[in-house]
Symmetry: C2
Subunit: 317 residues, 2 copies
């Protein structure tokens, strides 16, 4: 389900570092070489490259990339090079800052990562920002979105397959009642969404559909423009059908007047090693255009090459 393509024989970290060093040397930067290497190494390999680079040259690979590259391409390469949990910590921290605030990014990280990964992100956040993730989110968010986001990021959901059908049925009724009453920020509704395991929630939403004839997300569309309701619907999608959620993020990013590069980059970078293949399938089904072609039309230069490389295009070296 990942799209990342590794070379048949992966060079040693020191060989990779030497090549990267060459790509940085002299006037101008060899962006293509950087893509050929970094966009074809997995998380563990990139980590090893970073360590070797620092041991060999006494310098920080991320800092060197930062000074050699620019704009969207720079952001994509930097985010990609970071370890996944550090990257998530970085994205969430950015999402709590005024100018780059985004409840979506916070919700995404909270709902699409495994319980264990989310814990590791929270640990990485401590190490990097000397604060807790929920502390920053609770401080910067407010109102209904805070009421939803703080328990979402603090959850450590059970990950087994066991499902309690009686509970699923009764909680489906609770959810329906709250939605009928338009109590979208009700404590019970938020408790269910933020604490139950993903398989349990799936069963609950299925019962909801069976009992009341509509999907829960449909019933949550009372006011399509309400930002909190949008966040609630997306939370449910992320918890149950993340590939559909991501398809929509990419679709909106591409269809915008002027592409939303931040969103596009985020999806490609964070999902290339996870489920970008499934997201691309969803995209093609929904838009009748292959995702790589759509990206090719909407982006250009090294940035385009980087994204397409992560989608499995081009040669690895």
């Amino acid at each position: 389900m990942a799209t990342l393509k590794l070379p048949s024989t992966v060079p040693s970290p020191s060989e990779d570092c030497e090549q990267l060093r060459k790509a940085f040397a002299g006037w101008g930067t060899n962006e293509e070489l950087i893509i050929k290497i970094l966009a074809h190494r997995n998380g563990a390999q990139r980590k090893k490259i970073q360590e070797t680079y620092s041991e060999t040259y006494g310098e920080d690979l991320l800092k060197d990339l930062d000074s050699e590259l620019s704009s969207d391409f720079q952001r994509a390469v930097l985010l990609w090079t970071l370890e996944p949990v550090e990257r998530d910590a970085y994205l969430v921290n950015e999402a709590t800052k005024k100018l780059t605030a985004s409840n979506w990014v916070i919700m995404e990280v909270a709902c699409t990562r495994s319980s264990h990964q989310l814990l590791c992100v929270r640990q990485a956040y401590h190490a990097k920002y000397k604060k807790s993730m929920e502390e920053d989110i609770a401080y910067h968010a407010s109102g209904n979105s805070r009421k939803l986001l703080v328990p979402l990021v603090s959850a450590f959901r059970y990950e087994g397959d066991e499902v309690n059908m009686t509970l699923a049925k009764s909680e489906a009724k609770t959810l329906h009642q709250k939605i009928c009453d338009k109590s979208y920020n009700d404590d019970e509704l938020i408790r269910i969404l933020t604490t139950r395991s993903k398989p349990q929630l799936n069963a609950t939403f299925n019962h909801y559909n069976d009992l009341f004839g509509n999907t829960i997300t449909k019933d949550l569309k009372a006011d399509p423009e309400d930002e909190y309701l949008k966040l609630l619907r997306s939370t449910i999608k992320c918890l149950t059908v993340p590939e559909k959620y991501y398809e929509k993020v990419v679709r909106l990013a591409i269809n915008k007047l002027g592409t939303d590069e931040r969103a596009l980059t985020r999806v490609v970078i964070t999902r290339a090693e996870v489920d970008l293949q499934r997201i691309a399938e969803e995209y093609q089904r929904r838009n009748s255009v292959p995702l790589d072609r759509a990206i090719g039309v909407d982006t250009s230069g090294d940035y385009e090459k980087m994204l397409l490389a992560l989608m499995g295009h081009g040669d690895a070296c």
Copy 2:
């Protein structure tokens, strides 16, 4: 600060198992031998004994202890033998059951363990109960206490010493304002208590005292009998001066008409390897009686011997 006393030479786990097996053999049980062994082994050693026992005899030490012992002594030995994180998971689970419900136990575990320990308790809870801890707490608690307890157990507080004094001052003012308004369940008040690091909270409460002339716990005594306010005050004590909180739990347990053995057992068992020495000092200072003497007056038999052994009395073997 722990009171646990280990023998100068600790026997091997197989020797310990052999002795325990002897204590169980024939008519009657040798309770004293059980105490001499188990009450003088630390967490890692008890774990090894459990493993060796199961490997050697194909039986579960906890089950055998359960069938050999009875009443308060049984509960003390079983709780003690469990690994600390499993014990905490057990105590919290018990605290979410109707007949043994206790918001205090949940709050205690959430506020007096380190962030890392609390995570491990949540993992142990998954393994044992096939659910998440916050899921059970959110389901069983309600109202204001739920609003406080769920974020308390879900928190992963930063544990560094860095303190932001400007923030401490502004949040002290926020807390004071909410308390003046009697908004004890206010979102901001709960956000501060449930997300900030312990050193940061300590600074905030100090500013509170400096700025407004009263400690925050004093100002939270508006209605001394209100259960939620009591829980709020205890939360603050657990986060900043846990030994004082525990001293009071023990004092109330002992001074009750008929000792509260569950509370007494819980404090001695969960703190013997942590800070029972400090708690005993607090107890003596507050009551002018040494804690071990008070326990001796209020309890008897093997139960008394077990508690006193954990306080450092008696011979280890």
